[in-house]
Amino acid sequence: MKSLWNHYRYLILRRVTQLGLLFLYFGANAWGWTMLQGNLSSSIILNVVPMSDPYAALQMLAAGAILATDLLVGVAVVTFFYFIIGGRAFCSWVCPINMVTDFAAFVRELIGMNKLTGVKQPASRNLRYWVLGLSLVISAIMGVTAFEFISPISMLHRGIIFGMGFGWMAVLVIFLFDLFVLKNGWCGHICPLGGFYSILGKFSLIRVHHSEENCTLCMKCKVVCPENQVLYMVGKESLPVLSGECTNCARCIEVCDDDALNFSIRSMAQNKKMGE
């Protein structure tokens, strides 16, 4: 039982966080709770602290909208949190699509789809930065927030709180795409919000740290990691995972039986390295 907890502790915590936040949002609309009102685009905690999606605000700016003070304060709160502390944690700890794509990745491994398609992926992970750039160009030309009108993240999240409509189809498309077309296709290759947080969270304090001396080269971490290019140093060098593409999901930490991966604060991790 204890080993089960050890192997899934962060996964459980993440699901509790994701579902808990969803439940608070849902309760706000359904029963008038004030803990967390709105949705992931913009919300307000206890009618006091605003939070707004900085990527949505960026698109608004590109579209030529006037940014209101409330929005800017909300953007500052969210940006501060992920920039200084969380890194790309939004993707694995908050975003509801993460549960869909994690499930697709799980089924993919289970049914042996990865063996069928092979290790080589037909698409570049840099695609998301192109999509990110493109979304801003389209926002500017069309004068609307381009990604917000097609985002399956908002469709799912808003759908759960305010009514789904045919939004489940968009979610199914993501699931099927990840399952049959491209491993970690949406979150790891295409999603511009993921790309945005990869850039924003590059300098955050919370980092996964690898200690090479404990590593037994079992490579479980690389199998389970949805962004396994960030673990290039595993078994080679003791380094913190500094790539912004790491979502701090901590799956690598919990599957590691040898204590070779752990959370650490950035500067401490670096000092440790220098002390060697």
Binding site: M60, A65, I66, G74, V144, I150, I161
Partner: protein, 266 residues
């Protein structure tokens, strides 16, 4: 230097660039076309205080705080399948109209200013009566009051009774002894709340709300009420198209006294 495929580094770089730009353009065009279609809806009624539709689409962040604040669940967020700009708030008055709360809870909660408090404020106080969500339009063919049947459901339902809708009395020539009691909507007072549409007794409402842009025409600068001081002010910013022809180059009198008439007196 040649790579495996027999391409030089230079060619490979150029090809990769072309591929990137090509794919981005392809995706961009599909994406833009989709955005253009999904934001094209004109027949959508926005919450009170909403800024112009074009600005609304770029400013609304689709957070739903207005919908959550609405005590009557009037406001809906467009779902996939509603065929309205996705995630934006709207209402359907036949189902649930806007009950015009005097404290307008939906507007101040808007974090982006897509719902503009100042547009529903008079002398520093929130004033729902100046809201402009749309305009009620009466279909005289299906309105039974225009048939001569007494019905003032819309008039009675109107929160601005006597201002936004009044009853006009006309003689019913068909019977010779009855009166028509026709509902007349006054565009300057109507807020487009939709209580009339909600109350209308006909199978499909004979009075319904349309966005003002759709419901109203525009006389333009060529027609001005000369008897109305206020309307005359429009003359100041009036625009006219001046066409210059051979004849209009000179003053009319000069032209008439000139060569135009020359052949006439010979």
């Amino acid at each position: 230097m040649k790579t495996k495929a027999g391409l030089s580094d230079r060619r490979k770089f150029i090809l990769n660039m072309a591929r990137g730009i090509g794919l981005a353009s392809m995706g961009g065009f599909i994406w833009s076309a989709f955005i253009d279609e999904v934001t094209a809806s004109q027949l959508i009624l926005r919450p009170p205080g909403a800024i112009g539709e074009k600005d609304f689409l770029k400013t609304c962040i689709k957070c739903g705080l207005c919908a959550e604040a609405c005590p009557y669940d009037t406001l809906l967020l467009a779902k996939p399948g509603d065929h309205e700009p996705l995630g934006t708030p709207y209402f359907m008055p036949r189902d649930t109209p806007c009950y015009m709360c005097t404290d307008i809870p939906c507007v101040p909660v808007c974090p982006t200013g897509a719902l503009d408090v100042s547009s529903v404020t008079t002398d520093g106080h929130l004033d729902i009566n100046i809201a402009d969500m749309g305009l009620a339009v009466v279909d005289e063919q299906s309105c039974i009051a225009f048939w001569g049947i007494q019905c003032d459901a819309c008039y009675r339902a109107c929160p601005l009774l006597g201002h936004a809708i009044t009853i006009e009395y006309n003689k019913n020539e068909r019977t010779g002894k009855h009166a028509f009691m026709k509902p007349i909507v006054h565009a300057d007072a109507c807020t487009g709340c939709g209580l009339c549409e909600h109350a209308c007794v006909t199978e499909k409402p004979a009075i319904h709300i349309l966005p003002r842009e759709v419901a109203q025409g525009k006389a333009g600068d060529y027609y001005i009420k000369g008897w109305d001081k206020k309307d005359e002010k429009r003359l100041k910013d009036a625009h006219a198209i001046h066409t210059t022809t051979e004849i209009s180059k000179e003053k009319a009198a000069d032209k008439l006294n000139g060569d135009l008439l020359e052949g006439l007196y010979e």
